[in-house]
Subunit: 311 residues, 4 copies
């Protein structure tokens, strides 16, 4: 149960079987930092070329394919005031013909929204551009856009996208205090983290949250012999199964199937019981509909599971 | 502002340009009843063959194509104790290969879940079949599965599905107290209502909510010259645009485009302002992923709009 | 086996249970005309407002739900020289972001392509607008875009779209000489026909074929007690099952499932045999990817079936 | 213009930036062999664990990101008699509910179809299992299922799937004599090839072609400064743009957009001219609807381009 402090030197724009930066043990905690999606750090210095730079990978001693890695997000705090966002709805989230009335998308950095992120006040305020919103402030809700483990089959998967290994899920539920679960696919699991958002709407429909660099702290637990098919998450109120794919229909299928397996394996529900429960009580959230793979979260309330005497 | 009481004699399984049962005026209230999705009434008598029987249509005096019909759901109350549900996840909401391990779907009525709906206690309790859930009780939250107006172009659209005219959206947000909005496509609008659920999960993933007959009361308001593209809804906390289509991606596109138009037209946001706002603050709900057309709700918080001085 | 000549007076923009224009008998032939998709006749006179006007419906004596109606397209001949097409790829058939570089779509009639259709020469020549194509000529291959029978469940389905009843499939395989098959859903079947194209590419990707009015002749045969799920077609070389739905994936699923049922029921293949055959020998064509429902054709070569001793 | 003979020692189940097996020069020819999809060679010896083993990668001297690599498939010949196929339609290509009547899929190798491939006779004959097909013979048409170059962004992409770099497109058009084109994304391009099929239906709907090991010969040409977005292909009759994605709709969008760019850049068509041409003359083929990414081929006839004086 050591606490490690790690200062990243290089970053990755894919999750793959790269040389680990550090070996840690189940129960250990890591304190480190992440760059923003564009590769800039707390001082706005460009530290990496390539999308969604990852800090890591961290090698978890003893982790093997077929295990599950639990990662508790102990602390996620923006470490600067400047955040940025897209300013135009992504072409794929509106009716195709509506794009005919819009201007070509600028490159990132050219027509961004600039936000002043005040962690103490708990707000993000739109500074630029000048629109009918004026200096519009919203509450912050810091989250991790992209994290996960190395994928199977000698793959290295871009941090632009996501799959069974996690990756760029851009799901606003990954906030401080939650436990995330990833299926270990390579020895040591190789955990990566980055792409913090000060806040984000459902779907990440302008292609970004409020992109910002972060101070992060997380604690890993290795669940030996625990096999899962897709990333999972638990917070105070729900268990949550994530499906990552295009189209949205398939992401939803993955999430729904994974939640059914979870209820049957860990909550001792028979197949029909799990189906009836899901039929009247499942909740869905749309993580992102912007990335190459979309993300759907299938959720079940813990209070309902408690009523069933399952917890 | 009359109050009409209407006792249905016949029902429809499509929304089309049928002879109206009654002509009412903007501001009027109607008190009536609806059958359950299988055509049974408060006494469980079979009153109609065909899916999701509709009460109506009601002709709204003066309504013309290009107007909008607002319908306030004043009261939605189950009028019997017996409700029924599907008991197996729909084949299209789980991974296709997972269906290989399941049994062929029974016909409706053969392997249903039976629920005891206690309006006073506010609960629905699973009675049959015997599963690991036992006699599991959940809170009821009565809603309307299928309602809307006659569609354009001489169409008559099955109550199994939905489109711009509303129809079988199976969105659990349509509860007592909300205002729904439909684009008028034929003279008199021709409003239909039916298919009540005592409760329903997101997505209607077993193909049903808790299906039940209802006592309903609604009040109509004609918004002359107000043009909308898709059904809309308002409750105490949100404005909500509905998109109905397959795949889910297209339903989401319709809903997102409609919400953008709404924000721009009624809340005086410029295009970029509306996009930035939606980017960080939009919320999505999945209405149904079972019917021929799926339903996605795109939502914006009224408190955020209030911050903008827009309400 | 009578031959009927029918001069249409009114037209429909939906396929539904309308009063028939004529009752015919299995084996009868009808000679009639169709308007173009925009409602214009052989003299370019506007005869109907509404998309894809249908000639009919024709009541087939004795037809009942559960039967199949076979329609042989004996003759499909453009009856004027003027044909028109769209000139811009539909927003949904290209990458969504590519629409950002294009102009908003004009209304039909405003920026159409005009073609000179010479039936004797067998060519269609682009006359307007002036583009890098110049006066470009292609061979004609007249086909029917929209035909079918009244749908089930008291529906009236727009001629913009298609489903199990046929409708606006816009599949370029429906040419002179083929036999089309439709599932009868209402007494008399109620057959409709219209929307001729002098030629069309796969997918109808500009939203039209070369739209033109036609002289048509067809012969109906009632197949009593023959039950099919989706429209089918036979030509000299293939049997073809059509699936109509969005997304394209679902249209393909419908077509593939229907072809499997066809092979098993009419060609005496066991399930595994039909699957193995389809695995190495199925052919697909994309009918349309423009209409609300897309169309996929799943085909099997008759020469392969002959090798199997099945025909 | 050397001819290299290469005997593979190891294989890859992903296309990534691995150490090249050989450096070759534009104009060079390579003669080598490929394993079947299951890792077996001409003698049926298991040589690799992992799906679709790749021979290569070959480093093309001077190739840089932004160039195009042309690969001519000079010769593709099965080098043994034994081929194998799936025997059950993939769960995602039929109506989801149809899977409820089928048995769970066996593992590969357990319930395969066994085929006798006779290159001299030009036939493949089904040997096992015993079905209503009997000993059914079809003509062979050898093709390459998976080939391409290393992808951008430090990715290594599984040979189960495909993207802009090529990969597992499983398109039956990739036969002897065609020229394939790939966008170079890393220095040296790094060309991989494998996964031969003696024949395959459209869509690869049972999850395989007739899987077999091959003797292959190919010739590479480096097109400096030629930039393409997706794999392309030319044969005697057509130019062909490939799109790889899920759902099928998106694969079709990629292919259609790429064909439009091709016509505009290399055939001097203006935008409207290219759209009108595609509208009436585009052809589509479905490569595969089984792999994680589906493949659609958008085709234009060379004879039409010749009529336009473009070739």
């Amino acid at each position: 149960m050591s606490i490690h402090t790690f200062e990243p030197v290089r970053y990755y724009s894919a999750l793959g079987t790269y040389d680990p930066v550090m070996t840690i043990t189940s129960g250990d905690t890591v304190i480190t930092t992440t760059l923003d999606a564009g590769g800039r750090d707390a001082l706005l210095a460009k530290r990496h070329v390539g999308v969604n730079p990852m800090t890591g990978p961290f090698y978890i001693a003893g982790a093997e394919p077929g295990d599950t890695l639990r990662v508790r997000l102990d602390r996620i705090t923006p470490n600067r005031r400047y955040g940025w966002t897209g300013t135009q709805l992504a072409p794929n989230v509106i009716d195709p013909e509506d794009n005919l009335a819009l201007s070509p998308l600028p490159d990132w950095g050219e027509r961004d929204g600039d936000w002043d992120v005040d962690v103490d006040a708990g707000t993000a305020t739109l500074v630029e551009p000048a629109t009918s919103l004026g200096r519009f402030a919203i509450p912050i809700r810091p989250m991790i856009g992209c994290f996960g483990v190395a994928p199977p089959g000698d793959q290295a998967i871009s941090t632009a996208t996501s799959s069974t290994h996690g990756g760029n899920m851009d799901y606003k539920g990954f906030v401080e205090g939650v436990n995330a679960f990833f299926p270990v696919a390579v020895p040591g699991a190789l955990f990566f983290i980055g792409d913090g958002h000060a806040a984000q709407g459902c779907g990440e429909v302008v292609g970004t949250g409020i992109e910002i660099s972060m101070d992060v702290q997380f604690t890993v637990t290795l669940l030996k012999g625990k096999k899962i098919g897709w990333p999972r998450m638990e917070n105070d109120t729900h268990i949550v199964a994530l499906g990552n794919a295009r189209p949205l229909d398939q992401a939803l299928q993955h999430a729904t199937s994974e939640l059914a397996r979870w209820l049957q394996a860990d909550y001792e529900l028979d197949v029909m019981g799990s189906h009836i429960l899901m039929g009247q009580c499942i909740e869905y959230e749309i993580g992102n509909v912007f990335d190459p793979a979309y993300t759907v979260a299938a959720k079940m309330s813990k209070s309902l599971l408690a009523v069933l005497g399952k917890v």
